[in-house]
């Protein structure tokens, strides 16, 4: 039996006046999949997700949510979807549990099952301890969990999560990521991010868009292979800046050296060899390393390169 598509989009477009936020995107997400939606800021991720969640209709294109047309059956489609909007908006004065009861009523969960639905959502997001606190008094991480809890409430078969980890500290990012991973199962999860490592950690498949167009699709491994395995190392050395830059640029494996206030950023093909070779070079010249750290390569520039490549190829 072929996998059942829970989200299906063909030639989806959305224009805001003269701006084409999404321009002809097509993809499918199947039942039980966790799919990452990657793209730089302004790529059209949020617009696409809002269309899928029913916030507004597309300008053109064909959309099916759990096999239904959202233009014809908007309420049935929205019942099938739990949506986490970017920045998790909230009512600061409402308390957590009453807020989730309000959400459960709006999701038309029958009265007899409402208390259980709220309890499950609280438990799944670790919110029992703050159930009776106003949402506005919670930390950013907890407010994010409240946002996830409202999406989870009523156990919808499809979850659409827009940047669930944005603005969180690293510990909270790991918690939310674990939470998303724990949703694996019968649910279909479609979640957006602009951080490749995050998507790679959680998703089985990744869809990449840039400037409103699909630029790549595949497993995280396939994708990073296509992007070229690039790492970035930031190094600070106590030598004369020009000499240091020249010496490090000559290290085998270094593709590009960028000078920054805080040191030098080396773009490299493979990290370990480069770090060792760079260290050896610095030592040979009689300098010493003051700081050495790895930096995750910003997807945005990789996407821009991908898009540029795509445009050059066409």
């Amino acid at each position: 039996m072929p996998p059942e598509p829970m989200i299906e989009v063909r030639e989806l477009s959305k224009s805001f006046g003269a701006l084409d936020a999404v321009a002809g995107v097509s993809f499918r997400v199947h039942r039980g999949e966790i799919v990452g939606f990657l793209g730089p800021n302004g790529a059209g991720k949020t617009t696409t997700m809002r269309i899928l969640a029913g916030v507004f209709p597309p300008t053109s294109g064909w959309v099916r949510i759990a096999g239904r047309d959202p233009l014809r059956e908007p309420l049935a489609c929205r019942r099938a979807v739990g949506y986490f909007p970017e920045y998790a908006p909230f009512y600061p004065e409402l308390h957590v549990a009453p807020y989730l009861r309000f959400v459960a009523r709006l999701k038309r969960i029958p009265r007899t099952q409402r208390a259980d639905a709220v309890h499950e959502a609280l438990a799944a997001c670790g919110l029992e301890g703050v159930a009776h606190r106003p949402i506005g008094t919670l930390s950013k991480g907890y407010r994010q969990r409240v946002g996830l809890a409202q999406a989870l409430c009523g156990n919808p078969p499809i979850l659409i999560l827009d940047e669930p980890t944005i603005g969180l500290d690293p510990g909270q990012v790991v918690e939310i990521r674990d939470l998303v991973r724990s949703l694996r199962g019968d649910r279909t999860v479609f979640f957006s991010s602009h951080i490749l490592s995050e998507v790679a950690a959680v998703c089985e498949r990744v869809i990449v868009i840039a400037r409103g167009r699909l630029v790549g699709e595949g497993t995280p491994d396939e994708l990073s292979a296509r992007l070229g395995r690039r790492r970035r190392v930031v190094i600070r050395v106590d030598g004369p800046p020009d000499d240091v830059a020249a010496a490090l640029a000559a290290v085998p494996g270094v593709l590009h050296v960028e000078r920054r206030e805080s040191g030098l950023a080396l773009d490299a093909a493979e990290r370990e060899d480069v770090v060792r070779a760079a260290g050896a070079t610095v030592q040979q010249r009689g300098w010493s390393i003051l700081e050495l750290r790895e930096e995750s390569v910003d997807l945005e520039e990789i996407f821009l390169r991908l898009v540029r490549d795509g445009e050059a190829a066409s």
Binding site: F56, L75, P89, Y91, L94, L106
Partner: protein, 246 residues
């Protein structure tokens, strides 16, 4: 019922906010002050010989007071949700726009009704030592209630147009004042224009109620005014949604 769910949330926000208690206090203190001065005036000036009764003065004062206060109740209804971004969330739940609009409208109407109903203590107190004719008073309060519904519907509509509560409040004053004073420039316009405008004046529509008369024309006008602005709210939300403005 999702309408009730929306209304309950709005009530929780009203009763949980300082603004509501501030507005209700202002209303009750001023309504009490108007009652005190009107009663004093009525007693000193010889009561029954006056052209209008005590309650006519009182109702007309309440009407002015509510014109000032209602936009402050309605300004947050949609503007706040836009500002917070929660309207986007509401749109992803299986809820119709009409249900959101009605839930908010009913919650605000209930809050204001409760507040205004508290002034019923005034005729009750007077009735303990002086006869009060219930009929005209009931007509007056019915008119006031219909007027409140019209004010709220208008404020709800304006609130759906912006994400700034201040702008929503200010613009609601503008619209309500226009419908209030539309016939005040009697000297400046000719009789034909005046005749065309009179039916649209909220002030002129309320006046007969204050005198104790329920005219079906006035009831219909206020009800239609309310329904029209609820419909405008629906179209305003729909238009903004299609254009993708949250």
């Amino acid at each position: 019922m999702t309408i009730l769910a929306i209304a309950r949330k709005e009530l929780a926000l009203y009763f949980g906010s300082l603004l509501f208690y501030a507005l209700a206090s202002v209303f009750l203190v001023l309504a009490g002050y108007f009652f005190y001065t009107n009663l004093g005036f009525f007693v000193l000036m010889g009561g029954m010989s006056l052209q209008r009764g005590l309650w006519q003065y009182q109702l007309l004062d309440l009407q002015r007071l509510l014109l000032v206060l209602i936009p402050l109740f309605t300004m947050r209804l949609f503007a706040e949700e836009r500002k917070l971004g929660t309207l986007e969330l509401l749109w992803t739940y299986p809820v119709r726009d009409a249900e959101i609009i009605l839930g908010k409208f009913l919650a605000c109407l209930l809050v204001v009704t409760v507040m205004v109903a508290a002034t019923a203590v005034q005729p009750i107190v007077v009735a303990t030592f002086y006869p009060v004719a219930a009929g005209p008073l009931v007509a007056g309060y019915l008119g006031l209630w219909l007027l409140l519904a019209a004010f709220i519907a208008c404020g709800l509509f304006v609130s759906a147009l912006t994400d700034s509560q201040l702008v929503a409040g200010a613009a609601t004053y503008g619209v309500l004042l226009f419908f209030w004073v539309v016939t005040w420039n009697e000297a400046a316009v000719n009789e034909v224009t005046l005749h065309l405008l009179v039916p649209f004046s909220l002030f002129d529509r309320f006046y007969p109620f204050a005198l104790g008369a329920i005219d079906t024309g006035d009831v219909s006008y206020l009800a239609l005014f309310t329904l029209a602005f609820l419909a405008f709210t629906f179209f305003a939300l729909d238009a903004r949604r299609w254009r993708g403005i949250r």
